[in-house]
Symmetry: C2
Subunit: 466 residues, 2 copies
């Protein structure tokens, strides 16, 4: 669907994939320019162009007379392990902890009460744009918006999709109350009670909650902290089980921040075609990537079986409650479900956000915000070095969190209870699975500035583990 | 639950019930003061007080030496008939017309494009309040609101409930994206696929759509255009069928505008207790009543089996997308469903609306708006007198629409197609049933001012029936 990339960009993407998914590790030397020319049948100038771009991204560095080396990540830690092979499908039963964390408004903050700064300029601009839309509202307060949502907002979303390899139209989208509702509508449209759904493990707890609510059965596919869902493990599962849908987060999956390499993505879609599985793409973190924003799965979806779900919650504002879904072959059904379950979305809100994007406010907010996130991730890695316990940690290039694996005897659910007594809210690892796995893991967010209060809270955690 | 009414008010309510539900018709004489004293064991002064209040409401008039007479309604028409006795439960299959009407933003307007006036002062005030909430947002854009919704908005909703006989707390409510979502969550919490749900017929098409979507079976209970659901017909049905829930709209039900008399309400709840049926109360039109705002069913719900659903869409703004649900014994399950299916609602929006109510803006908007609605209803009745066809019409004291019954050979679905060619959008009667009934009926809204364009559109309709 997308316009083919120039050759230097193709090589850049390939090498970036390899670096991000651990084929070349920090400190390792990349193949020489000459061997890259041979391996990829490219001219020297093309290879150099690609390497310069990777250098500009801070991923590699030239060392005189020695070639290009992968820049060691700030992370001094090893990467956590991958989950063991999949069990059989089982009903979901997720803990009360999720509801508890949400009631404390603490999904991404150790100390939700400590943040009372001025909003960044981008948010002020966004809110002004919504205010202008309100003043332009005239008598439209008396009408429901059309079920698919505001045309101009859908246009802006389509324009952004096009930069990620997917030539979409406004009519490909339906506006929702956030990515969670998009996932809900997608699962409602594809599955009926008792169906089996494959998910990554560790994976997003919100999806596990949805599967429980919709009385679906889940099969957990091991996901690597670096390269995401293990497609060959999925293949084994598809041979045995009749899987209706697969929920996957190819770009900065939570909790690990993994990115699926291009080949794994192609493999996933080929598998889905062969076994007639719906792919539900949770794309919510993609735009946070500071090195690059990975393409969406829709860019290589030739059979309209990818349902793309996303929202503005993770990169702009969690209080907008505006998301979208592009349902592929299930789109009409999803539109009908949206209409039936909530009639419409708020038009002035959509117009305000559409105006903010159209005027360039969103792009410049993102540029600044990504650098903030990168800096906060590095600070978090540095702070974790001060922990006097043994741990393994991921180093994502996007998303809002690190995945921390502690010694096997640490029980982070117990830690959750202890931390809560001191006003600290953590996200324990077993929230990210239905199998009681990851009980020695933690998701730690770097969404917020590391002010003194948060730094103390973080320092306090290892003391509470004993 | 509610404080007992003073005796004169009890009599007032009783007589009003009787007038509104047709026991005393326009032009008929009420019983004498003396016989009212005897029948109700009241003093003369109490009876006089009640009659004076009814006179002030414009419901009765004193004629010298003859007593009190029911004021003939503006409506010169007869009231449409009640639907025949119920059939057996059946799967729902509702027409595409609903989706079509919503896509045209035409749920309550014959000519959705013709309205571009200034918004009323109340709406400007509301939007300013939302704007202020946006400016106060600070860093809260980074946090999800708690699943139940903003505490202050829930407080304000509870305060309004108290005026309607229901002493509620903020924690009794969960904020939703509108009444449709409230109904959706209520049905999801109570029913599972294949369950039987009783509804009024004619009744709200949005509920029929929901039942279809959730694969529930429906049984239609005849509803009188004046007094709503026929409780003894429901009783017959409950003897035969295992009904899980009953969706009912006791205050200005759409499409007829009927109000359930107090005794029928008590009968309904007693039946529900006896047969263990959940009562889902669609309360969305209640606050539009210009003679009075009927109590909610919750006021007499002693067994927490009423799920109260409402929103601001019908009396304030259809573009807010803010509703609420109070789930009785199912409330925890509903809260969990809300969390799982959309995480949270927009906090700044809720704060803006809560501020508008707290400052008195909502109450004064409602006072003016109800009088607008009353006037527009009267204008519509007058305009219908000019139709050169035979018809029967309801005269509601609230809601946004009249229910018009035409001659049996008129097919309003065909009329829908014809009118659409001229840019006129009508709401055909068979949308309000799953049984193909009411094909000679129309719901006509008086939500909008009768400007020249709408008047011509309305005049054109009978010509298109031939």
């Amino acid at each position: 669907m997308a316009k083919p990339l120039p050759r230097y960009q193709k090589l850049e993407v390939t090498l970036r994939d390899q670096i991000e998914t651990g084929r070349w590790r920090g400190g390792e030397r990349l193949p020489s320019i000459r061997s890259l020319c041979q391996d990829y049948h490219l001219s020297k100038i093309t290879v150099q162009h690609a390497l310069q771009r990777l250098e500009a991204l801070g991923l590699i560095e030239a060392r005189e007379r020695s070639g290009f080396f992968v820049v060691p990540p700030q992370n001094k830690f090893e990467v956590p392990g991958q989950a063991p092979t999949p069990d059989e499908p089982k009903p979901v039963s997720v803990s009360q902890v999720f509801q508890d964390i949400m009631t404390r408004s603490a999904a991404f903050d150790l100390l939700p009460a400590c943040n009372r700064d001025e909003p960044p300029p981008g948010i002020i601009q966004l809110n002004r744009s919504i205010g202008r839309a309100l003043r332009r509202q005239s008598t439209r307060f008396q009408y429901y918006d059309e079920p698919a949502g505001d045309q101009e907002l859908r246009n802006q979303i389509a324009l952004r999709a096009a930069r990620r390899g997917w030539i979409a139209q406004a009519d490909d989208f339906c506006i929702t109350s956030g990515c969670q509702q998009s996932l809900f509508l997608a699962l409602m449209a594809v599955c009926k009670s008792g169906d089996v759904v494959a998910v990554e493990t560790p994976g997003f707890y919100g999806v596990l909650q949805l599967l429980e609510q919709l009385q679906l059965r889940v099969i957990e596919i091991p996901a690597s902290p670096e390269s995401g869902m293990n497609v060959s493990a999925l293949e084994d599962v598809l041979k045995v089980w009749d899987v209706k849908a697969c929920v996957v987060s190819p770009a900065f999956a939570t909790p690990t921040g993994s990115v699926m390499p291009t080949e794994a993505r192609r493999g996933l879609l080929a598998l889905a075609d062969r076994h007639d599985v719906a792919i539900i793409e949770d794309d919510i973190y993609a735009e946070s990537g500071w090195l690059n924003v990975p393409d969406t799965l829709k860019a290589i979806d030739t059979s309209a079986r990818v349902i793309h779900c996303s929202s503005f919650s993770k990169v702009l504002s969690r209080d907008l409650r505006l998301g979208w879904v592009s349902g592929g072959r299930w789109h009409d059904e999803i539109l009908k479900l949206k209409l039936t379950s909530q009639l419409a979305s708020s038009r002035f809100l959509q117009e305000g956000v559409a105006g903010f994007i159209a005027e360039g406010g969103y792009a410049s907010f993102l540029r600044r915000h990504r650098q903030d996130l990168r800096r906060r991730r590095d600070q978090l890695l540095e702070l974790l070095s001060g922990w006097n316990v043994s741990l393994r940690v991921t180093t994502p290039h996007g998303g809002l969190a690190l995945w921390v694996e502690l010694q096997e005897d640490v029980d982070t659910l117990r830690l959750y209870g202890r931390a809560l007594q001191e006003g600290i809210v953590i996200t324990p690892g077993n929230l990210f699975s239905v199998s009681g796995k990851f009980s020695n893991c933690l998701r730690i967010s770097f969404a917020h500035p590391w002010n003194a209060a948060r730094v103390s809270a973080l320092k306090r955690l290892p003391e509470l583990m004993i």
